[in-house]
Amino acid sequence: MIDKKNPTIVQMIAVLLIVAAVCSAGVAAVYAMTKDTIAETNAKKLQKSLSEVLPEYDKTDTLTIKTDDGNAFCYIAQKGGQTVGYAIKTSNMTGYNGLVEVLTGFDNDGKIINTSATVLNETPGLGQKAVEPKFKDQFKGFEPSKKTLKVKKDGGDVDAISAATITSRAYTLAVQQAFNALQKHLGNKVDTNSGATSSANKNADEREIENDK
């Protein structure tokens, strides 16, 4: 048996190895068990957010749009082969507690349908109010091409949450990033040629886009 007070080096290494092996096996087993459930939970969550910010659709294509301020993950909603809207996930680190990730839904005219925070760990009772309708609903129908996506304090058209300007700024910035990505994807056509997101345009831009599939 093992001498507890004066173990040999071999004994020490063996014990640690066995402990580590058994523990890793346990962790791996639980990982295998929960992997599918976690994936399912995450997929459900994403579906819920997507359905909040997009019109009715029957399938989505995904692609990553590279912009100056990081990658934007884009879901192109389609119904009967027609593109009906874009949901773009963008994030930045400027929230009060760092990461803020927002899913912004646009219609074909580049008008915002709705927004949904996918990662928001702000202070409860302050920044966390960004998930409440009072703040969120002002983005519904917001036209970034005509109005400015900035809080009023910074000369924009967004009402900040009282006492939580930092969160409001971060959230608004994420929405602006989404709009920038959309503009890049559509080749700036939304401004001048409202509604005409012709497929020619899209194809022309496809080369710049790293398709995710």
């Binding site: 523990c23 890793s24 962790v27 680190m93 760092g98």
Partner: protein, 190 residues
């Protein structure tokens, strides 16, 4: 990412102790004297920067192997071994500091600042190694700042009259609360 923003926000705005509540145990334990507080901060800074850099690459390795669910286990083992190394080095280089930090040096392992910052950095996919190091260092400075200020306050506190029930830990927490309020004033900087 702008280094200045990282530095200012992690030292003042999102201070690791007073806003993120990491490393409170040693914050209460070693903050009786300014000297001890400084020593502890130095040790934490050293361990934190190395640990964050090492775990930064380990995270990349874990992700590439597809086993990033092992993150917590891998990180804590790296940090635990690093702390042992620091302990050995300190014992040789500065025995007096080693004496002063006593029991708290091994406890850096269970100081959530180090693991917390390592996990935070691992979660920031866009960070480059230099940014990770700056982030770790400025968090360590923020930690040292809070610890040292608090130690100074507590040295004064020992001389003042406090109602019996509030003596010791309770009044220390109240003081920390007021200090946290003061640090909230920095929020405007970000």
């Amino acid at each position: 990412m702008d280094y200045v923003i990282i530095i200012i926000s992690s030292i003042f705005v999102n201070n690791v102790v007073l806003a993120k509540f990491l490393g409170i145990c040693p914050f209460m334990g070693v903050s009786n004297k300014v000297n001890t507080a400084l020593g502890m901060s130095g040790a934490v800074a050293f361990v934190m920067v190395i640990a964050t850099l090492v775990t930064f690459y380990i995270q990349k390795l874990l992700v590439s192997l597809g086993i990033d669910f092992m993150q917590t286990i891998a990180f804590i083992l790296v940090i635990a071994s690093l702390v042992q190394m620091v302990e050995l080095v300190l014992k040789k280089v500065s025995p007096s500091l080693y004496q002063a930090l006593g029991i708290f040096l091994p406890l850096i392992t269970t100081n959530c600042t180090v693991l917390g910052v390592a996990i935070e950095v691992a979660g920031k996919a866009t960070y480059r190694p230099a940014e990770a190091a700056v982030y770790a260092l400025s968090n360590a400075i923020g930690y040292g700042l809070a610890l040292t200020i608090f130690a100074g306050l507590r040295e004064q506190l020992e001389l003042s009259e406090v109602p019996e029930g509030m003596r010791g830990v309770p009044i220390a927490f109240i003081t920390a609360g007021i200090l946290a309020m003061a640090f909230m004033g920095f929020a405007g900087l970000a």
